[in-house]
């Protein structure tokens, strides 16, 4: 598939290439004087993002995820890349004690976080709970069979995975220092060309658009999970949009945001999401695991 070239913006020490994919603003920062290299790199990153979106979107019937969800419980054999991703999800589910669950997407049907007071009823919740649980799906040897009514989605790590794939694609084509940021999930190829670190602003969860702080990274990835604008308010209770698949209920008192650094984006994303799922124990969880993170309450 061809992607139309887009105007690059020239920065003091390179270029930025911007596009939209996976419902998020995406950008590549590349430190080079060569506009052709910057444009080619930008297109490579965009193609990678679009490829992953197309392959794993749950909104497309022809995507891998769409096919699995339409299989109505029949076993589906998947390709190697999907297999590696589902393996990741499978281990993440075990590692997180069931908190990280690719079958939990159906919860969004009853929990709509639009700032309203539409808290679902107990019956609605219990009806849905029977459809959630990766443990009920069968996964072995690259073959997946979902239980009745189950659906999967890769929303929990697809964007992060795309960032990692983009970084890998960049490394294959250039040694220029690059930063890939897909909707706030970002990773760099290494230190900047002058050996310095990249500066990354962190959005203030309470005042969108403002910066709560600035992080600097030399290598690896940074992701932020949060519930900035998405919540429900009823009888004075603030329901976060972080849903615990084990209870089908929102997590109580998660931090406003958790920012985590890790070697790869998919790791950082998993850790920041998992920290949020620990609710008021998020900081304690991070501390116990020896993970350095920045939590905003």
């Amino acid at each position: 598939m061809e992607v139309a070239p887009r105007p690059l913006e020239r920065l003091k020490d390179g270029f930025v290439y911007r596009f939209v994919a996976m419902h998020s603003p995406c950008e590549l920062r590349i430190e080079t004087d060569d506009p052709r290299l910057a444009a080619n790199a930008g297109r490579a990153v965009e193609l990678e993002a679009l490829r992953i979106e197309r392959t794993y979107s749950r909104y497309r019937d022809d995507s891998v995820v769409g096919c699995i969800n339409a299989s109505a419980g029949r076993p589906v054999r998947v390709d190697n890349e999907t297999r590696a991703l589902i393996d990741f999800a499978d281990r993440a589910w075990r590692l997180s004690g069931g908190r990280f669950d690719i079958t939990s997407g159906v919860l969004r049907r009853i929990w709509r976080f639009d700032g309203s007071d539409n808290v679902p009823s107990r019956d609605q919740i219990s009806a849905l709970r029977s459809r959630i649980g990766w443990g009920r799906a069968h996964w072995s040897d690259g073959e997946i069979a979902l239980a009745e009514g189950q659906e999967i989605d890769f929303g929990g790590f697809g964007k992060e995975y795309a960032v990692d794939c983009a970084i890998n694609a960049l490394r294959r084509m250039t040694r220029a220092a690059c930063l890939v940021n897909f909707g706030g999930d970002l990773r760099v190829t290494g230190p900047r060309s002058d050996g310095q670190r990249w500066r990354v602003g962190i959005e203030d969860a309470a005042r969108p658009g403002d910066m709560a702080g600035r992080l600097e990274i030399l290598d690896g990835a940074l992701t932020t999970s949060g519930d900035a604008r998405r919540f429900l308010l009823k009888n004075g209770v603030r329901y976060s949009h972080i849903l615990d698949p084990r209870t089908a209920m929102p997590v109580k008192d998660p931090p406003r945001s958790v920012t985590v650094a890790a070697p790869t984006c998919i790791e950082a994303g998993f850790i920041s999401t998992l920290a949020m799922l620990h609710g008021r124990r998020a900081e304690k969880f991070l501390k116990q695991e020896g993970i350095r993170a920045w939590c905003v309450r």
């Binding site: 190697n80 890349e81 590696a84 991703l85 393996d87 990741f88 281990r91 993440a92 590692l95 995975y161 990692d164 794939c165 890998n168 490394r171 294959r172 040694r175 290494g190 230190p191 050996g195 670190r197 962190i202 702080g213 600035r214 992080l215 600097e216 990274i217 030399l218 290598d219 690896g220 920012t259 985590v260 650094a261 890790a262 070697p263 790869t264 998919i266 790791e267 998993f270 850790i271 998992l274 116990q288 695991e289 020896g290 993970i291 350095r292 993170a293 920045w294």
Partner: protein
């Protein structure tokens, strides 16, 4: 409350998961090499077993590797106490100071390379420029991640110069003579450094036959080591980064040595030993990475922490001779070694002690060593190829030859004493330009072995 035994479990597991995830997509693998390094043994020429004699031996070792690499200063003191029933107690105290630069495992390249590693001083919130080598500390504010970065110039072997350690060790041994003349020895050793602890215990038994002309001995040694790297243990094959890693790792070593010492005639003593050892647990160098390079140009794409098998079974056969002729004493020994990592090694050593006067002797010696590489030795891995199960670029696992030339001078000063000085030059040679080198790596020296000089100055004395 949970007391943290699982600290770092998550990140460690995750590192492995993502390594799997991207293994097909970008990881790589390459040419093979193998090796090992092993010290040779000698017939124990310690003669300090006289009844009621106490011997004190103090020495200091200076060791220096060429090109500003490792430098060590090691004072040692040992005391051996003998009683009149043939029992003896041996105590040895060692203190080491190691400084200098160690190869970090990455291959040299035609351009400067920058490495990022977690800093030993975590938690600093300000950016610091350190004077240790050409590295600097950088901080990720808020996250408290403090990384250290250093740059290696073009065409230079990447070394990490932020290396310094201090080791203290104590060795204890007791030999008891039973009523039937058999000897039982028990020993233990303990050593500690900032990032490593080791303890061991051994038990041995020896019996004489044949009017004491034949001695058969067997010994078992158990060792337990704990590796506790400054910034945690990286998961093998994860990318080098400034983020702190997982927890401590351990390994266990069991060694058996069985031997026969035979007096051949009044001039010749021969010894044959067979040893079998099993090491299981963490044997990877937590500070060491391996370059993953572009398959055409050889340019570094990334640096992965190395990975070694958790099991190693070692066997060696040693044959030693001590021959006294014309007033001189010659030591001639050979050793064959094989292990499950694929390393085969041969050692040949010759030393000749020549008395010059009644109170002065010289002892020149020569040692030759050759080994074949471990089956998971790689100078580098190639981007895009599947990762092997294990890989290390440690020169000690490569194919190499080593030659040691030494000269020892000893003199009696007061009577029951000896002042000695031993100077040695050790040189490894290996494959600097393997035929399989790709791209511009053909022009780089890929052999990272050492040249070292050591000097020991010691004084021992005995009294009743």
């Amino acid at each position: 409350m949970q007391l943290n035994p699982r600290k770092g479990r998550l990140t460690a597991a995750l590192g492995l998961m993502t390594a799997n995830l991207f293994a097909g997509a970008l990881c790589a693998h390459t040419a093979q090499a193998q090796d090992s390094q092993n010290a040779s043994q000698n017939i124990n020429d310690d003669t300090s077993t006289d009844a009621n004699l106490t011997r004190v031996d103090s020495a200091i070792l200076f060791y220096q590797e060429a090109n500003g690499r490792v430098k060590a200063i090691e004072p040692v003191t040992s005391v051996t106490l003998n009683d009149d029933s043939g029992d003896s107690l041996h105590v040895k105290l060692t203190a080491d100071t190691l400084t200098g630069a160690t190869p970090n495992g990455a291959a040299p390249w035609t351009a400067a390379q920058t490495f990022v590693t977690p800093s030993k001083t975590q938690g600093q919130k300000t950016t610091v420029t350190s004077a240790s080598g050409n590295s600097q500390l950088v901080t990720i504010p808020g996250t408290d991640v403090t990384a250290r970065q250093y740059t290696t110039p073009a065409n230079t072997l990447p070394v990490d110069s932020g290396f310094r350690d201090q080791r203290y060790a104590i060795d204890l041994g007791y030999t008891g003579t039973l009523d039937n003349g058999d000897r039982l020895n028990l020993g233990g050793a303990w050593s500690t450094e900032h990032d490593y602890n080791s303890m061991s215990a051994n038990i041995g038994y020896a019996r004489d036959f044949n009017d004491k002309n034949t001695t058969v001995s067997a010994e078992l040694n158990f060792e337990h080591d704990t590796s506790k790297p400054f910034f945690g243990t990286p998961e093998p094959f994860t990318e080098m980064s400034g983020v702190s890693k997982g927890g401590n790792r351990t390994k266990n070593v069991v060694d058996f040595v069985g031997g026969v010492t035979q007096v051949m005639n009044r001039y010749w003593l021969a010894q044959i030993n067979y040893s079998l050892g099993d090491t299981s647990g963490y044997q990877t160098d937590p500070y060491r990475v391996i370059s993953v390079v572009d398959g055409n140009s050889g340019a570094p794409v990334k640096y992965l922490y190395e990975s070694r098998p958790g099991s190693r079974i070692r066997q060696s056969l040693y044959l030693g001779n001590k021959i006294a002729l014309w007033g001189t004493v010659a030591d001639v020994s050979a050793r064959l070694y094989h292990d499950s990592w694929g390393i085969n090694a041969e050692t040949l050593e010759v030393a000749e002690r020549i008395p010059l006067t009644s109170f002065l002797y010289v002892e020149p010696s020569y040692r030759y060593y050759h080994q074949s590489k471990a089956n998971f030795f790689h100078d580098y891995l190639i981007d895009g190829q599947p990762l092997p199960a294990y890989a290390s670029s440690d020169s000690r696992l490569a194919t190499f030859n080593a030659n040691t030339i030494a000269l020892k001078v000893g003199m009696r000063v007061l009577g029951n004493d000896e002042l000695y000085l031993r100077a040695a030059s050790y040189q490894q040679s290996g494959t600097s330009h393997p035929a399989s080198a790709i791209g511009d790596l053909k022009t780089e020296n890929l052999f990272t072995g050492v040249k070292a000089t050591s000097v020991i100055l010691g004084y021992s004395f005995a009294f009743y």
